[in-house]
Amino acid sequence: MAEKIGVYFDLANIGGGLDVQSLATEATKKWGDFIAVSKLVPELALAVTDIEADIAAQGLDGVLLCGASPRFDNELYRFKAQVEYVNLREQCVLSYKNPDGSAYIPAEVAPAPLQQLAQDYVHMGVAKLQKSSVPDSAAIEITRRILVLGGGWTGLTAAYEASSMGYEVVLVEKAEKLGGAVINMPEASPLGPTWEHKTATNLQDKIAKVTGNAKIKVYLNAQMEHLTGQPGAYTANIKTPDGTKTEAIGSVILATGWTALDPKYLEPMGLGKSSKVVTLAEFGKMLLNDSVKAKRIAFVLDTTLAEEAFAKEAAAQEEAQAEAPEAPEAKDGEAEEKAFVKADLESFKHLKYSNVVNSVGMLRLANSVCEKSHDGVQAFILYKNMTVPGILERFYKRMQDRLGVMMTKADVTNIQEVGDHMVVECQNTLLGDDFDLEVDLVVLPTGLVPTTAKEVTVQFDYRQGPDFPDLELFDGYADSNYICFPYETRRTGVYAAGCVRQPLTLDACEVDAKGAVLKAVQCLEAANRGVAVHPRALDNSYPVFNFVRCTQCKRCTEECPFGALDDDEKGTPKPNPARCRRCGTCFGACPERVISFANYNIDQIGSMIRQVVVPADFKHDGPRILILACENDAYPALDMAGMRRKTWSPYCRIIPVRCLGSVNAIWISDAMSKGFDGVMLLGCKYGDDYQCHFIKGSEICNRRMQNIAETLNRLGVQPERVEQLEVAIDEYDKVPAMIDGFVARITALGPNPFKGM
């Protein structure tokens, strides 16, 4: 609780004719003893030393900076006191328009609604700070040892990189020797500049770097039995031929790679029907053993034949499932949690996902086989999508230069054995017509199925189960926010790299391994400091439970997107702060409101809501709308809109929240009883292409909206007064219209029946 607050007004960033002196006076009048210092400074950035002096002299425990958005220059204002901001620039003056919708031309004296808006924000800022305190440290003793699961190309790279950063490594490999899939590869696509030539894999050197390293302990023929604890302080039980080994572990790199797609999925393309049809991985092995005798080889990269056959099957299955009556609930399953069963998520889709690896692989092997025979071999590459990522374009150029390599885009419509050769039927080709190709060997793509789709790789000892959550939504790939946070999984402290994350070429696997090591190290060191990894990097708050009132309803433990909360037999939550990413989804879920963060809690936001002056006369003074905006995407979008002079209704009051998942229904009741006419929840997109930084937050919020609607109905308030809207960070041009549209709908609804009560 900040009790001696310094309020600073940044005159350089407050315009629009606002009476700043009046803002300061009103604040002091209202908050009296809490405000120890109140100053108007010409330019805040130049007043840093003055503020530091005030903190030292007056013993301030909170600083409120009124001016620009908190997203600007905040690295200047790291004080030995809590810092809060009041955004009077982007989301107040710059985005202000007159109540009648006309543009506001900055005047000498701000109009009353603008002054009121600013005054509300200042009061809300003081309330926020006043209800905020410094969290106790959640720092834990950590083990600086990284567990690498998988001893293939990625795992070996990761182990070596981690050790060279000074961390101990435990490497667990399922097979009897290291190397993984690369053992069977004759050569690699380029691993570095000039990115043009095939290169030796030098796998043995990579293995030697690991096996000869004192910091790396290797377990062969080994698998995970259990992973218990939290980042920084995990305990791994590893099943080895010599019994179970127990290792203290800090963080985990998941590099378990892939398994080849079931050959049945390639049957429509002739695999298994003729010995003249092989997969790319098999062909690589054949080339390694010098057993390729074919003179004409078709590399068929177009997998439509297989995809269509199985897509039809999948659709038929789905239809059958939809028609079948709902399976009756298991009789005794209601109280008991169902036993965990790993679903097999392998499907024909993995063939499509593997297109990059097969494109690059076919180019490489087609070139190799031509090179070996001095172009005595004709190698045809028949593709639908030749996908060569990034700089490997240079490799593609070089590979196609080979005389014997012939490529065309083609729809391969049939592959069959005729006499002593294979006939590949091609349609819609670049050669201008449909044709048959007679070949001695057909090479099909290899489907790379992530190991996570087939087996439980890590064996978490977590309340939410031993596996990664929601794998079925992502065809077995461990969920990760690919754009913003690659390597992340839904389990903090476990970072996926290599083909288990995405089918990748060897160079990309190396990059992945290095990236994942950096994340694993960051996570360890963050746990040691008691701060979050991402996206709230360095946040030192964490959920605190008031167990006295907890009803053991388990909502928080079930809804936490990261499985941070375990529980005991009774269902009392057991927090693991190092697993937590500080989104607040748990306290959004809690009906008893027993969960809070020291600097972000139910009471705090409720108090802020209550600071807004809601006029009784709806007709004359307009409605009041509360906007709870996600701080990750929606709040920056609003800032950007303001900077670009996009304006919205002056009746809105915006409160940033950590995630829509952290929105507790009580805030909506608070707003309604205060007299707000509508509440708008502005958050990230959810669904398949979700943009939520906490993966599930906006989705969970949307689910809770149903309960909220019921509550509102019971209270006699139209549920339409609360709406959740989705916005992307770059949609600053759309967000003002979204707000104004909502305000118009609320205005049409009329005043909140609780207004003035």
Partner: protein
């Protein structure tokens, strides 16, 4: 079972690479070239499709492809190719390979395709004219470089027209004409698709089309302007119209002069009134015209040669075929002019030797014409005639 079975032949690709298409494998079929080409028709444009056929070694398709003859080799496609595959060079190489295979005897085609064949090509006429020279010395009392009493030199004293030059060149000329006509016929047949073709719309007789082709394409060389007006490539492409037109006119004038002299000479034996005796007076109208033609030839050659030398070698490579033809014409022009100079200067040894070389080169030009790049005069005309008869302008 579909349609046709492809039989790619890497030997054919190798031949193309050897004949100047060394970058053909670099093509990745983006079709920038087909868009860049100012001459390509909207329907099935070139040279994109030729590039993939070349890469796949589909010789049959390229040999029966009319489009390779329609290209004027302006190089816009090569300038704009994002991969440096130089489609213009590949088209030119395809033409060269077709010359090589179109005609009998094929051995000459093989010799024509590379520098190492040059000694054989040169050797044949060198030996032929040497034998003629040797035989004729028996008429000049064993004198290899005879001069008249007044010191003047008459080439006819050795290379007597009626019995040596005329019959040999007539046989050579009509022989080459026969071979090239057979080639043109074969080409025409190969252009035709299998089965019968129904042509819809207004039609003209083939002679009218031929007239159009000769006027628009040969005499005016209007397509060069279209090439010039093609898309902006950001690279200077010097006009080839001037040089090419001058060269064509020079050839026409020289052919006319030769025909007049031949006609006057042989016709004069029947109708003495039209007889023309050589050597002609320096101010004789035909002589003036001949010298004018020779000067034009040198100017045209000079322009074309300078252009090839100055060309950007990364996108426009001149192949051996290009240099062979230019070289032969240069040799003819220079030896012709030098021979006349030495004759007037009465330097017998030099004059006769140069004149001998002149005959060798002229024979090479005519005899090997069906296999040389100059054959494009006939083959391109055939191709243009073919497309016009099937409704295409170019």
């Amino acid at each position: 079972m579909a349609q046709c079975t492809l039989k790619p032949d890497l030997e054919f690709s190798r031949k193309l690479i050897a004949a100047g298409g060394e970058d053909l494998k670099k093509c990745y079929q983006c079709a920038t070239c087909a868009v860049a080409c100012p001459l390509a028709p909207a329907n099935a444009p070139y040279p994109r499709k030729e590039m993939v056929w070349a890469s796949w070694g589909l010789g049959d398709r390229l040999k029966s492809d009319v489009d390779i003859w329609l290209c004027h080799n302006c190089g816009n496609c090569s300038d704009l190719c994002p991969r440096g595959a130089n489609p213009a060079d590949v088209m030119s190489a395809a033409r060269n390979v077709v010359y090589q295979d179109l005609l009998e005897p094929k051995q000459i085609g093989t010799w024509m395709s590379k520098f190492s064949g040059l000694p054989f090509l040169f050797g044949i006429p060198a030996l032929l004219w040497l034998i003629v020279w040797w035989i004729r010395t028996s008429f000049t009392n064993g004198e290899w470089f005879p001069t008249r009493a007044d010191g003047s030199i008459v080439f006819g004293d050795i290379f007597y027209g009626d019995y040596t030059i005329d019959p040999i060149f007539m046989i050579t000329f009509f022989g080459a004409l026969f071979i090239i006509c057979r080639g043109a016929y074969k080409l025409w047949q190969s252009f035709k698709p299998e089965g019968t073709v129904a042509i819809v719309g207004e039609q003209k007789c083939w002679l009218c089309h031929l007239w159009d082709v000769l006027v628009e394409e040969v005499i005016l060389a209007s397509h060069f302007d279209e090439c010039q007006d093609g898309p902006k490539t950001g690279k200077g492409t010097p006009s080839r119209r001037v040089g090419h037109t001058i060269l064509v006119w020079a050839f026409c004038i020289l052919a006319f002069v030769t025909a007049v002299v031949a006609f006057g000479h042989w016709g004069g034996k029947i109708f003495p009134a039209i007889e023309i005796t050589t050597p002609l007076r320096p101010l004789h109208l035909i002589k003036l015209l001949a010298n004018f033609g020779a000067i034009l030839l040198v100017i045209g050659l000079g322009i074309l040669t300078v252009r090839r030398v100055l060309e950007n070698k990364t996108t426009h490579k001149s192949s051996y075929y290009d240099w062979y033809l230019l070289g032969i014409i240069w040799a003819i022009a220079l030896t012709g002019i030098l021979a006349q100079c030495f004759r007037l200067a009465e330097a017998a040894g030099c004059a006769f030797f140069i004149y001998y070389l002149h005959l060798v080169f002229v024979w090479m030009l005519f005899a090997y014409l069906p296999w040389s790049k100059l054959g494009h005069f006939v083959y391109r005309t055939v191709a243009l005639l073919y497309v016009r008869m099937y409704g295409r302008k170019s």
